[in-house]
Point group: C2
Chain length 514, copies 2
C-alpha cells in the first residue's frame, strides 16, 4: 500500500523493504544525509514504541541491502544510536532496542506541550549490567508463593468477583490493605477511603483530574524527583513549581510562597536523594494544608525498605483529611503487577471515584484477590522482610566496595530504599556515565531527576528568582543514582565490580588507584 520513495540520488527504495519487524514507514532518505535520516527514523520508531525494547534489528548488512545504501552508513547509524543509548549491541545477540522502560516523554499527540526541557539522559550501549534505579530485583519475585495465593484466592472467590466491580476495587483487597497500612506504615485507612489503582501514575492521574476539577492551578514538587510525574501534572494543566531541598529534606515551610493547591512529596525516602523529611518539615506540610485547604500527595513508593533507623510512619497519619497517600507493589513485588493503592481524605475519595470514570481501568480482579490473600496470609510481610535483608546486604556491599576502591567517593541516601546516591567530582557526571556505559554498565545520573528550576549551578542556589518570583532551589552536585536492587543475585557482584572500576579511575578524582 505504500509507495516506494525516491531518495536524493533518485534511487527508489521501499520502506517496506526494511522487513516486517522494522516498519520504518516514516523513513525519508532525502534531505540532511542518509545516516541522519536513518537515525531519525529509528529514533522515532523507538520513541513511539513501534520498535519495542529488546527487539532485534536486522544486521547492518541486511538493512543496507534492503535500502541499497552503503553498509557503513547503516553501521555508523547503529553505532551512534548505541552511543546515544537508543540501541544496544551485545556480542552474540546483535543490535537491539535498548531495554529501558517506556519512553520518558511520549509525545502528547495534538496537544501543545509546555514541559520544560530536561537534559537527554545518557543511555547505555550494550549494557551487560544495569544499576538503573526504579526496579526491584525481579528475579526474586516470589513466584511459587504468588501462584499458591492465586490458587487459594480464586478457589475462594465468589462468582460475582469475576463480574464488573466496585470502582474502588475489590473489598477483600481494600480490607487487607487497611489493616496492613495501619500496622506497617501508620496510615489511617478504612477500606472505604482506599482505591485500588494500576500503580502510582494511574493514581496521580486521577488526583490530577480531581485537582483540575477543583480549579487548582499549581502543584508544588520537590526539586529532585521522577520527571514523568512532573510531566504528568503538567499535562493535566497544572504548574509545577519546585521546592528547594536541604539537609532536612524538602523545604515545606516555603509552600505558602508558592501559591499552590497541592504538594507532591516523598516523605519517607526522598526520591532520589534518599533522605527522610525532618519532623518539622512534615508538620509544616500538614500545617500549610490545614491553613490553605491544600492537599499533600504522599508518594510512599518504598516505605517498606528501611535499614538503619526505625521506620518512619506515613505523613498521612498526621492528618488523614489533608493527605492523599499512595502506595504500590512496584518496589515491594514487581512493577509488572500494576497494582497500587491510594488512601484519600473522605471528600477526595468521592471525587476520585468520579474521576476514575467508568471503572474500566481497574486492575484485574484475580490479581486484586491474589494480593489480598498474599497480604492476609502473611506472605507479603515475609517477602518484604526477606527482601529487606537482601537489599540491606547489597547496600552494605556497595558502601564497602566503594570505600575500598574509590575512597574519595561519598555514598549518601543509604538508610532506606533500593538505591543510593554516589557523589561525584564536580563536572564528571556525564563522563562517568559514558565511561560506565563503555564498560557495559548502565547507570543514571542525578541530572535526570533534577527539576529544571534547580538546574542552575550550586553557587547560584537561592540567589535567583524564577518567573513566579520563587527562589531557585539549591542544586546538588554531580552524582549517580545507583539502583542496587536492580541486578539479579547472579549479576550483582559483576555490576558492583564494574561500578568500582569506573569510580576508581584517576580522571574521576579517585585518590588511589587499585
Amino acid at each position: 500500500m505504500k509507495k516506494p520513495r525516491a531518495n536524493s540520488r533518485g534511487e527508489t527504495r521501499s520502506a517496506e523493504g526494511l522487513g516486517a519487524d522494522l516498519h520504518l514507514d516514516r523513513l525519508d532518505l532525502q534531505g540532511h544525509g542518509l545516516r541522519a535520516s536513518l537515525m531519525d527514523a529509528l529514533r522515532e520508531a523507538v520513541r513511539t514504541g513501534r520498535l519495542a525494547p529488546g527487539v532485534r534489528l536486522p544486521s547492518s548488512r541486511t538493512l543496507a541491502t534492503d535500502l541499497s545504501i552503503a553498509r557503513n552508513t547503516v553501521a555508523d547509524a547503529y553505532a551512534e544510536l548505541v552511543a546515544e543509548g537508543w540501541l544496544t549491541a551485545q556480542q552474540g545477540s546483535g543490535t537491539r532496542v535498548a531495554q529501558r522502560s517506556a519512553p520518558r516523554r511520549a509525545p502528547a499527540s495534538g496537544t501543545a506541550r509546555v514541559v520544560p526541557q530536561r537534559p537527554t539522559p545518557i543511555r547505555t550501549p550494550g549494557a551487560i549490567y544495569s544499576l538503573l534505579p526504579g526496579n526491584p530485583d525481579l528475579a526474586s519475585f516470589p513466584r511459587t508463593q504468588w501462584l499458591a495465593a492465586a490458587r487459594r484466592a480464586l478457589t475462594a472467590a465468589p462468582h460475582e468477583a469475576l463480574g464488573y466491580s466496585d470502582p474502588r476495587g475489590r473489598v477483600e483487597l481494600r480490607t487487607a490493605l487497611a489493616d496492613y497500612l495501619a500496622r506497617a506504615r501508620g496510615v489511617y485507612a478504612d477500606p472505604d477511603r482506599i482505591m485500588i489503582c494500576a500503580g502510582f501514575v494511574h493514581g496521580l492521574r486521577m488526583i490530577g483530574a480531581v485537582l483540575s476539577a477543583r480549579r487548582v492551578r499549581a502543584v508544588a514538587v520537590e526539586s529532585y524527583g521522577a520527571p514523568q510525574y512532573q510531566e504528568l501534572l503538567t499535562e493535566a494543566g497544572l504548574r509545577t513549581p519546585a521546592l528547594p531541598l536541604d539537609e532536612g529534606g524538602t523545604r515545606t515551610e516555603d509552600l505558602a510562597l508558592r501559591g499552590v493547591g497541592a504538594v507532591l512529596l516523598t516523605p519517607a525516602h526522598q526520591y532520589p536523594t534518599g533522605g527522610a523529611l525532618r519532623a518539622d518539615r512534615r508538620a509544616a506540610a500538614v500545617d500549610w494544608a490545614r491553613a490553605t485547604g491544600g492537599l499533600v500527595l504522599e508518594d510512599d513508593y518504598d516505605g517498606e525498605f528501611r535499614y538503619d533507623r526505625q521506620p518512619v510512619g506515613a505523613l498521612q497519619g498526621l492528618d488523614p483529611e489533608r493527605v492523599v497517600y499512595f502506595g504500590t507493589t512496584s518496589k515491594s513485588l514487581a512493577p509488572g503487577l500494576r497494582l497500587g493503592w491510594m488512601v484519600s481524605p473522605r471528600s477526595v475519595a468521592q471525587e476520585a471515584v468520579a474521576a476514575k470514570g467508568h471503572v474500566d481501568w481497574a486492575p484485574g480482579a484475580l490479581d486484586q484477590l491474589t494480593l489480598a490473600e498474599f497480604i492476609t496470609s502473611g506472605e507479603y510481610d515475609r517477602h518484604v522482610r526477606a527482601m529487606r535483608l537482601r537489599y540491606r546486604r547489597r547496600r552494605d556491599e556497595l558502601v564497602a566496595a566503594i570505600a575500598e576502591h574509590a575512597p574519595a567517593v561519598r555514598v549518601s541516601g543509604i538508610a532506606a530504599g533500593l538505591h543510593a546516591v554516589v557523589e561525584l567530582q564536580p563536572g564528571t557526571e556525564r563522563s562517568v556515565i559514558s565511561s560506565a556505559a563503555s564498560q557495559g554498565l548502565a547507570v543514571e545520573g542525578l541530572e535526570s531527576f533534577t527539576h529544571p528550576s534547580a538546574a542552575a549551578p550550586a553557587s547560584d542556589a537561592g540567589a535567583g528568582a524564577g518567573p513566579d518570583g520563587e527562589g531557585a532551589p539549591a542544586r546538588r552536585g554531580d552524582a549517580l543514582v545507583v539502583g542496587y536492587a536492580t541486578p539479579s543475585d547472579s549479576a550483582w557482584s559483576g555490576a558492583l565490580a564494574a561500578l568500582c572500576g569506573v569510580l576508581s579511575r584517576p580522571e574521576f578524582g579517585s585518590k588511589i588507584h587499585p
Copy 2:
C-alpha cells in the same frame, strides 16, 4: 471529627451514628422531610460508590434507633429505594445495595456535561433472578484451567516480564492474539498493531483521545447501543449523532450525511437488537471511511458466540487501514479480568501509544501472560466452544418456553450472542419490567439502550429532522433485552419460569393464559 447536626425538630443526631459501613455524612435531616432526606443521602452514597453493590445496610430498626427517628420512616425509605432499584431486599439476606455494575452516569466532576438525558432505567427490587444483559455466566469461568495456565505462564516467564512493559502490552499475548483473531474472526492483525487494554471502555477512551487530537468533532453511533459508550465519547468532546437501524442493520449509507470523522458499530451482532450488519452495509461503512479518511470503530464484543449461521468475519478484514477493531474477554471469559485488545491501522497504532501516556494503565503482566498461554494451549477455544453449546441450549429453552407460555410474544436477535430481544405489546415495557421486578426478576428494557434522537415514537421515524438536519432514526417497539447468559445453571430454570410468568399475563397482551 464530624459535628452532630440538629434536625428540623431540634434534635441532635450524629451522621456517625449510622455506623462505619454507612458513612452517610451528607445526611441532612432538615428540609423536605425525614424520609426524603434519608433517601437522598442513601442514593448519593450509592451513586458515588461509597455504598458499594452488595453492601448490607443496617436493619431499619437499628438505623431508626441510631437516628432517633421512627422505624417506619426508615422502612418506608428502604422500601421506596428498593422499588427504585437502588437497594434490594432479599429474604434472609437483609437490605443490600443493588448488584448493578458501576453507576451509569458517574458525575464528571467540574466539567459541564452535555449528555442527553435518557429515561432512568427501572431498577429491580429484591431480585432473586437476573436476566440483565452484559455478563457471561460467571459460574462457568474455567477456574481450574485458568490457574493451570497461570502456573505454566509464570513458570516460563522471563524475569523482565515482571518489570515495566511495552506500552502495547506483552508481546506473548499480542502474538497469540494475532494468530487467534486471524483464525477465529478474520482479523488482519500483526502483533505490532495490537494494543492490550483493560477492556473496551479503556480502548475506546484511547481512541477518543486520538480522534480529539485529530480534530475530529463527531462520531456516529448506532441508534441502539450501550449508553455509556456514547457518554464516554461525549465526555471526550465529541458529538454523537445516531444512524438509523432497519432490518439490514445500521444504515451506514447515511454516514456521508452526518459529517462525522468516525463511526462506532457492532457489525457482527448489533447491540442490543441482535442482527448482523448486512454485506452492503459493511461495504458502505468501509467505502465511506476510504472516501473521507474516516475511521470505523468495530466493537466485536461477542463475535465468538454464533449459533445458527456461519460466523461473520470481522469488518476489519475488509480494510485494516480504515478499521479499529476491539475485542474483549468480558463476554468470553469474565469482565473481572479487565482484558481486551484493539487492532489499529498503522497510523492509529502510533497515536494510540501516545494517547496511552505513561503505560501505567496496562493490565497486569501475569494476567496477560496467562491469557497468552490460555489461547496458545487451546483452552480458550475449548472454553468458547463449551460456552457456545451452553448458551445455545439456553437460547433454545428461552424461545421454546416463551412460545409455550406467551405465544403472542416474538423473540428476535437470537442467532448469536448472549442475549435476545423479547418484543412486547406497545406501551407495556415499563410495566412488564415493574411486574418482573415485583416477582424478584431483574430485566432491562430496550428503552435504556435507545439513543435520545431515536426515542420519538415509531410513527415519526424518518419524518423529523434533528438540530443537525439529520433524520430521526427509526424507533423500535417496546421490548426486553434478556441476558440469558447471566444466571448460573442452577438459577436458569427459575429465572426462565419467572420471565414466562410475567409475559403470560393477559394484561401484557398474551392471548392464552397458562
